[in-house]
Protein backbone atom coordinates (compact mmCIF):
# COMPACT_ATOMS: atom_id res chain seq x y z
CA UNK A 1 0.00 0.00 0.00
CA UNK A 2 2.80 2.35 0.75
CA UNK A 3 4.01 1.95 -2.81
CA UNK A 4 0.79 3.21 -4.38
CA UNK A 5 1.14 5.50 -7.35
CA UNK A 6 0.99 9.12 -6.21
CA UNK A 7 -1.29 11.71 -7.76
CA UNK A 8 0.28 14.87 -9.10
CA UNK A 9 -1.40 17.95 -10.50
CA UNK A 10 0.73 20.46 -12.37
CA UNK A 11 -0.41 22.90 -15.06
CA UNK A 12 -0.18 21.56 -18.64
CA UNK A 13 1.57 24.69 -19.74
CA UNK A 14 3.10 27.71 -18.08
CA UNK A 15 5.06 30.84 -18.97
CA UNK A 16 8.59 31.51 -17.79
CA UNK A 17 8.40 33.52 -14.57
CA UNK A 18 4.90 32.33 -13.64
CA UNK A 19 4.41 31.08 -10.11
CA UNK A 20 2.50 27.84 -10.44
CA UNK A 21 0.83 25.63 -7.85
CA UNK A 22 1.67 21.94 -7.65
CA UNK A 23 -0.64 19.53 -5.84
CA UNK A 24 0.45 16.08 -4.71
CA UNK A 25 -1.24 13.23 -2.90
CA UNK A 26 0.15 9.84 -2.01
CA UNK A 27 -1.61 6.94 -0.32
CA UNK A 28 0.02 6.11 2.97
CA UNK A 29 -1.34 4.94 6.31
CA UNK A 30 0.82 7.44 8.29
CA UNK A 31 0.80 5.20 11.34
CA UNK A 32 1.62 7.49 14.28
CA UNK A 33 3.27 4.92 16.55
CA UNK A 34 0.88 5.95 19.33
CA UNK A 35 -1.76 3.40 18.50
CA UNK A 36 -2.13 -0.06 20.00
CA UNK A 37 -3.82 -3.20 18.77
CA UNK A 38 -6.57 -4.88 20.81
CA UNK A 39 -4.01 -7.16 22.49
CA UNK A 40 -1.96 -4.20 23.67
CA UNK A 41 0.89 -4.26 21.14
CA UNK A 42 2.13 -0.89 19.91
CA UNK A 43 1.64 -0.48 16.19
CA UNK A 44 5.07 0.66 14.99
CA UNK A 45 5.34 4.14 13.60
CA UNK A 46 5.39 4.24 9.82
CA UNK A 47 4.95 7.62 8.24
CA UNK A 48 6.21 9.42 5.18
CA UNK A 49 8.96 11.38 6.91
CA UNK A 50 10.38 13.31 3.97
CA UNK A 51 8.99 14.73 0.75
CA UNK A 52 11.06 16.56 -1.84
CA UNK A 53 10.19 18.37 -5.06
CA UNK A 54 12.83 19.06 -7.71
CA UNK A 55 12.72 20.62 -11.13
CA UNK A 56 15.43 19.71 -13.65
CA UNK A 57 17.40 18.19 -10.80
CA UNK A 58 17.22 21.24 -8.54
CA UNK A 59 15.31 20.91 -5.28
CA UNK A 60 12.88 23.79 -4.70
CA UNK A 61 10.62 22.50 -1.92
CA UNK A 62 11.00 20.01 0.90
CA UNK A 63 8.82 18.84 3.75
CA UNK A 64 10.11 17.12 6.88
CA UNK A 65 7.04 15.39 8.22
CA UNK A 66 6.03 14.15 11.67
CA UNK A 67 3.04 11.99 12.68
CA UNK A 68 0.85 15.11 12.96
CA UNK A 69 0.27 15.05 9.20
CA UNK A 70 -2.88 13.11 8.23
CA UNK A 71 -3.02 9.75 6.46
CA UNK A 72 -2.67 9.91 2.66
CA UNK A 73 -0.58 13.07 2.88
CA UNK A 74 -1.64 15.89 0.61
CA UNK A 75 0.81 18.69 -0.14
CA UNK A 76 0.29 21.72 -2.33
CA UNK A 77 3.09 24.25 -2.90
CA UNK A 78 4.49 26.62 -5.53
CA UNK A 79 7.31 27.02 -8.03
CA UNK A 80 8.51 29.94 -10.13
CA UNK A 81 8.86 28.53 -13.64
CA UNK A 82 12.49 28.82 -14.87
CA UNK A 83 11.73 27.16 -18.24
CA UNK A 84 10.51 23.87 -19.63
CA UNK A 85 11.59 20.69 -17.94
CA UNK A 86 10.69 17.86 -15.66
CA UNK A 87 9.59 17.63 -12.06
CA UNK A 88 10.65 14.85 -9.79
CA UNK A 89 8.79 14.22 -6.54
CA UNK A 90 9.93 11.75 -3.89
CA UNK A 91 8.36 10.41 -0.74
CA UNK A 92 10.36 8.45 1.82
CA UNK A 93 8.78 6.48 4.67
CA UNK A 94 10.04 5.03 7.97
CA UNK A 95 10.25 1.53 6.49
CA UNK A 96 12.68 2.87 3.87
CA UNK A 97 10.19 2.69 1.01
CA UNK A 98 10.92 5.39 -1.55
CA UNK A 99 8.21 6.47 -3.96
CA UNK A 100 9.10 8.73 -6.84
CA UNK A 101 7.14 10.25 -9.63
CA UNK A 102 8.11 12.46 -12.56
CA UNK A 103 5.99 14.98 -14.42
CA UNK A 104 6.81 17.14 -17.44
CA UNK A 105 6.23 20.89 -17.71
CA UNK A 106 5.87 22.59 -21.09
CA UNK A 107 6.48 26.29 -21.55
CA UNK A 108 4.69 28.39 -24.13
Amino acid sequence: MSAAKPRIRVPDKAKVGDVIEIKTLVQHVMETGNRKTADGKVVPRNIINTFTASFNGKEFFKADILPGISANPYLAFFMKVPGAGEFEFTWLDDAGVKISQKAPLAVG
Binding site: A63, D64, G68, M79
Partner: protein
Protein backbone atom coordinates in the same frame (compact mmCIF):
# COMPACT_ATOMS: atom_id res chain seq x y z
CA UNK B 1 -10.54 12.31 -6.68
CA UNK B 2 -13.88 11.13 -5.29
CA UNK B 3 -13.06 7.40 -5.15
CA UNK B 4 -9.95 8.05 -3.14
CA UNK B 5 -11.82 10.24 -0.72
CA UNK B 6 -14.26 7.43 0.03
CA UNK B 7 -11.45 5.05 0.78
CA UNK B 8 -9.95 7.67 3.04
CA UNK B 9 -13.15 8.20 4.98
CA UNK B 10 -13.46 4.48 5.54
CA UNK B 11 -9.96 4.24 6.86
CA UNK B 12 -10.50 7.21 9.13
CA UNK B 13 -13.45 5.51 10.71
CA UNK B 14 -11.30 2.50 11.43
CA UNK B 15 -8.68 4.75 12.95
CA UNK B 16 -11.21 6.42 15.19
CA UNK B 17 -12.29 3.05 16.57
CA UNK B 18 -8.69 2.01 17.05
CA UNK B 19 -7.96 5.20 18.91
CA UNK B 20 -10.51 4.48 21.61
CA UNK B 21 -8.59 1.37 22.58
CA UNK B 22 -5.37 3.30 22.29
CA UNK B 23 -6.50 6.01 24.69
CA UNK B 24 -7.02 3.49 27.48
CA UNK B 25 -3.37 2.59 27.54
CA UNK B 26 -1.98 5.87 26.31
CA UNK B 27 0.55 6.23 29.12
CA UNK B 28 2.70 3.45 27.79
CA UNK B 29 3.08 5.15 24.44
CA UNK B 30 5.98 7.22 25.73
CA UNK B 31 8.10 4.10 25.49
CA UNK B 32 7.91 4.68 21.80
CA UNK B 33 10.57 7.37 21.86
CA UNK B 34 13.23 4.81 21.01
CA UNK B 35 11.39 4.11 17.81
CA UNK B 36 12.04 7.55 16.44
CA UNK B 37 15.77 7.41 17.04
CA UNK B 38 16.86 6.97 13.43
CA UNK B 39 14.72 9.71 11.92
CA UNK B 40 15.98 13.02 10.59
CA UNK B 41 15.96 16.52 12.05
CA UNK B 42 13.07 17.42 14.32
CA UNK B 43 11.96 13.81 14.57
CA UNK B 44 15.02 12.64 16.48
CA UNK B 45 13.37 12.97 19.86
CA UNK B 46 9.67 13.66 19.94
CA UNK B 47 9.16 17.07 21.51
CA UNK B 48 6.23 16.99 23.91
CA UNK B 49 6.07 20.63 24.99
CA UNK B 50 5.45 23.66 22.83
CA UNK B 51 7.92 25.76 24.84
CA UNK B 52 10.68 23.28 24.12
CA UNK B 53 9.75 23.16 20.44
CA UNK B 54 9.79 26.97 20.20
CA UNK B 55 13.17 27.18 21.87
CA UNK B 56 14.63 24.69 19.41
CA UNK B 57 13.50 26.75 16.45
CA UNK B 58 13.90 30.28 17.79
CA UNK B 59 16.85 30.07 20.16
CA UNK B 60 16.83 33.43 21.94
CA UNK B 61 15.17 35.33 19.09
CA UNK B 62 11.81 37.05 19.52
CA UNK B 63 9.55 36.46 16.54
CA UNK B 64 7.43 39.24 15.03
CA UNK B 65 3.70 38.60 15.18
CA UNK B 66 2.98 39.48 11.57
CA UNK B 67 3.40 38.31 8.01
CA UNK B 68 2.11 34.74 8.38
CA UNK B 69 -1.35 33.77 7.23
CA UNK B 70 -2.61 30.53 8.74
CA UNK B 71 -5.85 29.37 7.21
CA UNK B 72 -7.42 26.59 9.25
CA UNK B 73 -11.02 25.91 10.28
CA UNK B 74 -12.07 27.51 13.55
CA UNK B 75 -14.00 24.37 14.38
CA UNK B 76 -12.71 21.01 13.14
CA UNK B 77 -15.29 18.25 13.35
CA UNK B 78 -12.81 15.51 12.60
CA UNK B 79 -9.39 15.91 14.16
CA UNK B 80 -7.97 13.18 11.94
CA UNK B 81 -7.80 15.43 8.93
CA UNK B 82 -7.83 19.19 9.37
CA UNK B 83 -6.94 21.11 6.20
CA UNK B 84 -4.61 24.08 6.52
CA UNK B 85 -2.85 26.60 4.32
CA UNK B 86 0.17 28.55 5.45
CA UNK B 87 1.53 31.52 3.58
CA UNK B 88 4.17 34.10 4.35
CA UNK B 89 4.52 37.53 2.77
CA UNK B 90 7.92 37.53 1.14
CA UNK B 91 9.46 38.65 -2.16
CA UNK B 92 11.24 35.23 -2.33
CA UNK B 93 14.40 36.69 -3.88
CA UNK B 94 17.96 35.56 -3.18
CA UNK B 95 18.36 38.53 -0.83
CA UNK B 96 15.09 38.12 1.03
CA UNK B 97 13.18 34.88 1.29
CA UNK B 98 11.58 32.44 3.70
CA UNK B 99 13.94 29.58 4.45
CA UNK B 100 11.78 27.34 6.61
CA UNK B 101 8.26 27.28 7.88
CA UNK B 102 7.41 25.18 10.94
CA UNK B 103 3.96 24.17 12.04
CA UNK B 104 3.15 23.03 15.56
CA UNK B 105 0.06 21.61 17.23
CA UNK B 106 0.54 22.69 20.84
CA UNK B 107 -1.88 20.10 22.26
CA UNK B 108 -0.83 16.98 20.33
CA UNK B 109 1.20 14.18 21.97
CA UNK B 110 4.09 15.29 19.73
CA UNK B 111 3.87 19.03 19.09
CA UNK B 112 5.81 19.18 15.81
CA UNK B 113 3.72 18.60 12.71
CA UNK B 114 5.99 19.47 9.80
CA UNK B 115 8.82 21.70 8.64
CA UNK B 116 8.72 23.05 5.11
CA UNK B 117 11.86 24.26 3.35
CA UNK B 118 11.70 26.83 0.57
CA UNK B 119 14.17 28.39 -1.86
CA UNK B 120 13.84 31.49 -4.06
CA UNK B 121 12.87 28.99 -6.82
CA UNK B 122 9.69 28.26 -4.85
CA UNK B 123 8.40 31.66 -5.98
CA UNK B 124 5.97 31.84 -3.12
CA UNK B 125 6.29 30.75 0.52
CA UNK B 126 3.00 28.92 0.79
CA UNK B 127 1.95 25.35 1.46
CA UNK B 128 -1.29 23.44 2.03
CA UNK B 129 -1.74 20.09 3.71
CA UNK B 130 -3.89 18.29 6.28
CA UNK B 131 -3.06 17.71 9.92
CA UNK B 132 -4.18 15.66 12.90
CA UNK B 133 -5.37 17.46 16.00
CA UNK B 134 -5.79 15.42 19.19
CA UNK B 135 -8.02 18.03 20.91
CA UNK B 136 -8.94 21.71 20.97
CA UNK B 137 -5.70 23.66 20.91
CA UNK B 138 -3.54 26.41 19.41
CA UNK B 139 -1.90 25.75 16.06
CA UNK B 140 1.28 27.78 15.73
CA UNK B 141 3.37 28.58 12.64
CA UNK B 142 6.90 29.97 12.75
CA UNK B 143 8.81 31.22 9.70
CA UNK B 144 12.59 31.53 9.61
CA UNK B 145 13.66 34.25 7.17
CA UNK B 146 16.91 34.55 5.18
CA UNK B 147 17.95 37.61 7.23
CA UNK B 148 17.84 35.59 10.47
CA UNK B 149 14.54 37.03 11.67
CA UNK B 150 11.47 35.03 12.66
CA UNK B 151 7.74 35.46 12.26
CA UNK B 152 5.01 33.76 14.23
CA UNK B 153 1.29 33.19 13.69
CA UNK B 154 -1.24 31.42 15.86
CA UNK B 155 -4.84 30.17 15.55
CA UNK B 156 -7.05 28.37 18.02
CA UNK B 157 -8.91 25.36 16.63
CA UNK B 158 -11.82 23.73 18.41
CA UNK B 159 -11.85 19.99 17.79
CA UNK B 160 -15.06 17.97 18.10
CA UNK B 161 -13.61 14.47 17.59
CA UNK B 162 -9.89 14.30 18.25
CA UNK B 163 -7.49 12.69 15.79
CA UNK B 164 -4.81 10.30 16.89
CA UNK B 165 -2.22 13.01 16.34
CA UNK B 166 1.39 12.27 17.02
Amino acid sequence: MPGERNAMTQRMEIEVLGRRTFLIGAGASLALAAFLADLPALAQEPVRSIDEAMKKVLGDATPAESGITLEIPEIAENGNTVPFTLSVESPMTDASHVKTLHIFASGNPQVGVATFTFTPASGKAAVSSRMRLARTQDVIAVAALSDGKFLIGKRNVKVTIGGCGG
